[in-house]
Subunit: 215 residues, 4 copies
DNA sequence: AATGAATGAGTGTTCATTCAT
DNA sequence: GATGAATGAACACTCATTCAT
């Protein structure tokens, strides 16, 4: 169950709040993508959402609320889509599939992830921990995936290695988005998944060894 | 050879320009660290640099110039410190040492790297490519380090793997800074270097294999 | 006969209008008391009155109407309570009693009087004269009280003195409210009535004279 | 010596600050007079002062600062002009002259006094006490004037009567301004001074008595 | 070369009022 | 007759930039 950090709205009809906020988020993401949070005005957000500035403020209290809503929504989407992963099987294949799945989600949500990635830090001291918490939850999913492999005897790495590995996977996903200017020039998402999986599973010495074995 | 992107100054005396800009950068970094680029005012930068707002504008043309100067200076520092790496030896040990060296630099320059990392994106379309270019140069250093290993027969991985590996190393360095809220709670820089090196060199199956061998 | 300044309502049922407006006034007085007219929003008034903002506007046309209603209501209350005074007897004792009565009313309605006193001026050029007229009516009551004394031979002061005296009494009543920060620290309403009556009746030389007589 | 409540300015040249603030006060008084503090915008104040909105905010920090400056300046003016009063002589004549002097000052500064009188209450909890303190200082001047008369044997009234009398005089001065709509229709300032002095000195029974004596 | 007072476009936010349901 | 979502003009305040001294 998710801890809800409520953003206050003046409007009472909860369905309407949901609907209007979704309009708002959609508009805001594309604006933040284009010019960043700080260079986007609330008026622009309202216009992009399809309503007036007055109406915008019926559904939030401060501009930062919009950013929070955006971040929250993106995490929620990623997590929802990630939830179809099988965390329990505990085979290397399921880990490989999990990574594949996650990287493809990021690929499809590149813009959103980039926005969140670049702007989340401007969230206030009140809101930021909540967002970071969500991030840790997602990292936790990879940790679980890995731990089950260890428990299954498919993998033998220390607890610390497991944790860092989970972080690496998580960051390598985001990296596909935030370093697209470098990576996506020479590389498709399929390539990327393939290459990263190689490195992840075999390490650089793995190649050497295989070579030696093969040679 | 480095492409110089000149920031125009009204003042002619180049030594003075250099000196004033260094004051400016020092002040700006600590301000950006504290409150980010957008929440820092030019007046604050001037004050932190030790001169008046009018003088500030004798050495730059826009606020963004300050950010550029800051990013440029940070990259330059990282690169300078990195330049003591031996890129040519082409042994796994030299690669390991290179990573160790780089990660420790990042650790010491955490604040600066974080600033640059978080704010660089607001640079205009004119300045950003220049900064990204510098980043690629640094990635290139790791690529070279790796390529020499391959040429030396110490490693046998494809060109694509080499490139991605270089990116991974570069990002894992930055990651130590920008994910400090998660990583640095349980882990020293020594631990981090050790763990990342393990994963990098052996991959996760490496561990398994060793186990099998050992078992 | 009272001149009625009609505030337009959309609702036809006059009893309902009366009822709703009373709710509104009660809510508004306590809000104006707390934060003044300008810092009180129509939404707050509606909420304090127990109905919606839409309903509020069924019974008034502008926010200023609320202020008018409030002022009107307060004057009406003061006047009603004042109406038990005996204006006709024409003795110094009845004047003394009238003052006593009036000062005690003000004391009990301090908050309301303060509100009206401080906010009435923001009424538009259309509504203000109406309110001032009511005030003059009340001053007129004291004038009558005094005049009857003169007619009775109990007092011998000129017409101008009578008028100014009436104003003084009226203002000294309000003064108990609007200077409470100074007066009510060291003085009860009983004290205040007593002291003011002394000054009013004897003047400052009166004391001297009595002393001389007594000495 | 006056306790200074400093309003922060960005501009350092103190003479310039003084000059600009005087421009500001002059403009603000006439605007507040016309439409009250709340209906006056900061842009209007800036324009009336003869500079831009940006410049206005170089000399104050909030709109309320303007009101404080206005109130402070008015009190200071009244007090300065009042300072020529001889507080020490302790004769009834000097008291009479003091009142005459004070009432004439109020008459000349009617607009200013009215503004301060009507708007001072919106000052924040921080600034209001400071203004009230100044008011009490002025009341204190009348108290002193009266006390010296008592000490001189010219008057024999209790401490409490002295205090209230001082308040009455102070309020009757202001009253000439804030009730001008009623008083100034039938009465010049000379008349007003004369009538109020009569009532003050003789009380209403004084008239009667004189009559009896005279009769 | 250095200063800092002046500028005003631009920002986030509020709130009286309307009107479709 | 009652509701409350929608509106947008209006507001206080900020800050990058300029330029006369």
């Amino acid at each position: 169950m998710t801890i809800k950090r409520e953003i206050q709205a003046s409007v009472k009809d909860e369905q309407l709040v949901e609907k209007r906020r979704n309009q708002m988020i959609r508009g805001a993401v594309s604006l933040f993508k284009e010019k960043g949070f700080h260079r986007t005005t609330t008026r622009e957000i309202a216009r992009a959402a399809g309503f007036s500035i007055g109406t915008l403020y019926e559904y939030i209290r401060t501009k930062e609320d919009v950013l929070f809503l955006v971040c929250d929504s993106i995490y929620e989407q990623v997590r929802n889509r990630l939830s179809s992963m099988d965390l329990e099987r505990g085979t290397l294949e399921s880990l490989r599939l999990g990574i594949d799945h996650y990287f493809r989600i990021i690929d499809e949500m590149q813009d959103e992830v980039l926005v969140m990635y670049q702007e989340a830090k401007v969230l206030s001291n009140e809101a930021l921990p909540y967002v970071l918490k969500k991030e840790l939850e997602m990292v936790g999913m990879f940790e679980k995936l890995i731990r089950r492999c260890v428990e299954n005897g498919e993998l033998d790495i220390s607890n610390e290695h497991q944790q860092l590995l989970a972080h690496n996977i998580f960051v390598q996903g985001q990296m596909w988005g935030f370093r697209r200017w470098a990576l996506q020039k020479t590389c498709s998402i399929d390539d990327y998944i393939c290459l990263q999986t190689d490195l992840l599973f075999s390490g650089i010495q793995g190649f050497k060894k295989q070579m030696e074995v093969g040679g």
